[in-house]
Subunit: 366 residues, 2 copies
DNA sequence: TTGTATGCGTTATCAG
DNA sequence: CTGATAACGCATACAA
């Protein structure tokens, strides 16, 4: 029983008006008589009129669509952090009447995907996910002259485009200092893939903190791979089985941190007591009891925390501004992660510790 | 340096041909001279010509886009299983030249979203995610007369539309029988939200298996909520703290199962030994070491397993068939989940067990 | 305040 | 094998 689709022309016929007037009435032009406008709107609703997206797009030159290109990781997987980011962006798109286009792609020919999206005029702008330290996509998109916002940033010429990033370097420096203050001296690192700029900067923070306290690096307790559970498990298993296991570890995502927990359980070891763990927590919704601003209860993991969902929202807002506004200067936001103390950190065992330390759970450091 | 976008007309001018011929050459019409076709293709590539999506869509009436509407859960979250599904679907879309449109929505006014998508002709078809036992979306979409495929199915009139589903009832029956065979008599259930048809059917399977072996239901060890980590944790914590904890538990997703592990660790209990766990595993990529066909190694969790990614692929294929083909009859596929034995199941402790049982890990039952 | 005429960039019909 | 020409459904400059 599909009712025939109703077009602007038919709607105008029915109303005994011209297409122009109907179009203007519907699009809120001021010069329309309020009485006719009311009539038009009523009829449009009654007949369930909706303008054809492609016709509107063809006429205006705007697609009212934003592209997200997600690159499948080593494990042919979509980064699960993407889910929450997209949820945040989606809210904003809904509010402003934009659609979200998703392209899944392998790592080869990524640029072609962008070019394709742009030159077929399917999107008005794109969001760049997971920038590498040097990422050819950015100069490429700049050359194309299309609006885009980067979630994260690159090292080259970051002033020339809009981005939103977390201060990853400082976050890991801080987390590391916190562990050192607890008396830990042997601190492992389970990082993401370090061609990713965020992971690279996290390692810098870790190294800087150790260096500042005169602790030598030990690459045998530094790991880097996709942020998935098995990576955390394997890295932890290897460290815990070594002759000189670390007393604390910095983990780049809550997913590998779960793997660390598994490795501990397998050995009947306990977090905090036997191994202190701090994770970078993007507030993955499927691991949190509530929404992004997890409130009240003491979280399980001690974490540096920053919300993916919020980032998604903000990136979407910036991009829409850029698309609709006059060409303003690029904008940047550098967010500080919040340190939240949970149940997975504690003082270093006396044997290795220099000073006994006591910590109250759940203090927040701005 | 945004090169001016090149249109069919300009391309035709450059070539000294008519738009018609150029269009035909590019779209592979047989009546074009192969020499001219080659010339056209060469020029198109050189000038980087791409047809405007909206113009093509307007002319053909096809959007070459498929809509996915994802409803935010209680925790404002996107179901993480969605990620892998979408990765599978995306592969197929890429292969057939379709785009994927994603709409994030709250639970209210879901139907409006579909209506909007369809009547603005933004999509040629939609995928229905997470059908409830009675789901108004299905009759609604049928009435609209638009192509759609359901991932899962509803109870009402399932023959009237295309779907792909896992035999959830049998999967849980099988898992439950396996536990009973191991000597377990007190088996808990940590289920998804039971207005979802898949969760409802899983409970049916669980209940049927118990009933068949003369074991009474005990609602104090049956839980139902969003499939997230904290749900598994809380349910397990509650059961383990009770006077008569279960010796085994059936869990609806690997995420709450991780929560169960946390509850165990907290009490210094061990999986298999102290509590047997079987999970329904959708092969979430961020928890697996490899791709969907996790090969070789013994998995940690004993699981009923079915791949989300494969389901995404197949659903996309069916939908495209339906869009492009002649109106064929609805198709249905009911997949059987595979039982894979990992490290989280073992015989019931002698005190309660009737027969001692020994199990080899990693046998697969087709 | 309303209407006419034209263009947006394709595809498709019908001649040649 | 190729080319005019007319849709497709909307927006908008210009006219009234």
């Amino acid at each position: 029983m599909a009712r025939e689709t109703i077009t602007l022309r038919r709607l105008a016929e029915v109303l005994g008006l011209s297409q122009t007037t109907v179009s203007r009435a519907l699009n809120g032009f001021p010069e329309v008589n309020e009485a006719t406008r009311a009539r038009v709107i009523e009829a449009a609703q009654r007949l369930n009129y909706r303008p054809s997206a492609s016709a509107a797009s063809l006429a205006t030159g705007k697609a009212r669509t934003i592209g997200h290109v997600v690159t499948l990781g080593d494990h042919m997987m979509i980064n699960p952090h993407f889910t929450d980011f997209v949820a945040g962006a989606g809210e904003v798109y809904a509010r402003f009447g934009y659609e979200m286009l998703l392209r899944i792609t392998g790592s080869e020919g990524e640029q072609d995907v962008y070019r394709d999206l742009i030159s077929r005029r399917r999107v008005d702008g794109v969001v760049v996910h997971g920038p590498k330290t040097r990422d050819p996509r950015i100069p490429f998109l700049r050359k194309l002259g299309i609006p885009f916002v980067v979630h994260g940033r690159c090292e080259e010429d970051p002033a020339s485009y809009s981005w939103i990033d977390v201060n990853n370097r400082r976050a890991f420096m801080r987390a590391c200092n916190f562990l050192i203050d607890l008396g830990h001296r042997r601190i492992g690192l389970i990082n993401g893939i370090e061609t990713m700029n965020f992971a690279d900067r996290r390692r810098q923070g870790y190294e800087a903190a150790l260096a500042a306290r005169g602790i030598d690096l030990d690459t045998s307790i530094m790991f880097s791979a996709d942020m998935i559970e098995p990576h955390g498990y394997r890295a932890a298993a290897q460290m815990l089985s070594s002759r000189k296991p670390p007393t604390a570890v910095l983990v780049s995502s809550i997913l590998p941190a779960i793997g660390v927990m598994r490795a501990l359980a397998e050995r009947e070891l306990r977090p905090a007591t036997d191994l202190s763990i701090i994770v970078f927590d993007d507030c993955l919704s499927f691991l949190q009891p509530g929404n992004e601003a997890v409130s009240g209860a003491i979280p399980f993991f001690t974490a540096m925390r920053s919300s993916m969902r919020l980032a998604g929202r903000r990136v979407a807002e910036l991009l829409i501004e850029q698309i609709e506004g006059q060409h303003s200067a690029p904008k940047h936001e550098l967010w500080e992660a919040e340190l939240v103390i949970g149940h997975t950190t504690g003082p270093c065992a006396p044997a290795e510790s220099q000073v006994p330390v006591r910590v109250k759970p759940f203090r927040r450091y701005s």
